[in-house]
Symmetry: C2
Subunit: 258 residues, 2 copies
Amino acid sequence: MKNFSFSRRDLLVGAGKLAAGAAVLSLGAGGAAREAWGYGYSSDFKYAKLDLDEVGQIAYENYFKRWCTSTVLAGLVEPLRKKVGGSWKDFPIDAYRWGHGGLAGWGALCGTLPGAGIVIGLVTRDTDTAEAMVNDLAFYYSYTELPSYTPKKILKAEIHQMTIAKTPVCHISVGRWMASEGVGFLTPERAERCARLSANIAMEAARMLNEWVEGKYKPRHRPLFNLVENGITSQNNCIDCHGQNVPAPPEEYQVLDK
Amino acid sequence: MKNFSFSRRDLLVGAGKLAAGAAVLSLGAGGAAREAWGYGYSSDFKYAKLDLDEVGQIAYENYFKRWCTSTVLAGLVEPLRKKVGGSWKDFPIDAYRWGHGGLAGWGALCGTLPGAGIVIGLVTRDTDTAEAMVNDLAFYYSYTELPSYTPKKILKAEIHQMTIAKTPVCHISVGRWMASEGVGFLTPERAERCARLSANIAMEAARMLNEWVEGKYKPRHRPLFNLVENGITSQNNCIDCHGQNVPAPPEEYQVLDK
């Protein structure tokens, strides 16, 4: 077996953009060398600063018919159609509806996140930037009390609880909220919660993109932070699922504490 | 609290397409009535029957630079560019790279699945069909021994194990395989596994789309099966994570066994 170890010092964000992630990958991520890290690509989709309240309102209203992925897309794409036009005009918002409920109801990745990611990827034209922004959004989703969005006019139900998901996984995120609020999944309350959450995520994506389009976006979190810290694609709350038995990587993969 | 109960008989697939899912939703899915279930949308993206070996080969080769989401997209989009052209010519495959590793390395939804879903959604122009196909793909991903793809020429490493994921969640899926093979994440073996898995998923998506374009696609699984059976967006192996303490929905939501 190959020996593969690197020190935490190697992972400090150093000179150059996203050096930590690049360091990880150049040190032997399955032989994927530095050139596999980030690169640009062309895209016809433009961005202009959006009004966050408008984004949130459109997302909230759309949820009950379109569900999370197409709803976050609507919140971003419909204003972009008006402000920027171009390729957004033909963008088929409903072609992504299968993302709902963690992928066709499988409870995996909350559909709000790929919805936002799709717009982020299309406008930033750089894998480093898109990666950093989606990573920041996943941290926001996982560690903010949500839903915090307050609609001007409630469309479905009164709800009371906000929860911290600690995960981008739909099943765990919605389950935690359902237990807190005391309702089942197929209820108006749960639908209301997901509608407001969709508004929150669409608004946070727009907030970052608004910074980015003015050249002011700086990643809040290190890209690939979880992978590097935990030795596997992961969340950051291992004990919540694994209890005392958190699997350890095999010997050949070690992060040395020096 | 509202009482909300329905019998399993209501959920049998009856006359009409996807009646089970429609029955669930019309019976009170948070007030989302039948019209919220399925509808069509327009899209400029066309499909033509693809050669599965070509799809698999292109996906496998692309993985090491593009990672799972953009890789499955490449396996489908590059042949479609040649065969069909049109809107595929400008399709920015790399704009979706953030989907890798379960969303920017968070280990949530395996990036192969939204990669396939994006093409499925764009060509089928009907939310019912896209939903059913993505659901079938999630069942295939979760319950097939993978990766079964055998490259003509191995690009990264010899690997030996195939595993059944029982989940579309990257962390669990790759972790199970890593434990079986005895390797860490940042190894050539794990990269080889994800490259072959990407080929498998791209090929399965193409297989279904090939049936669909000839009018022969029939869903193998009931859409929203998991949600209906388990009372929450979910996988189907509750005990694996919850052990003896599978949370029960509150009283107001019951599936009656009659």
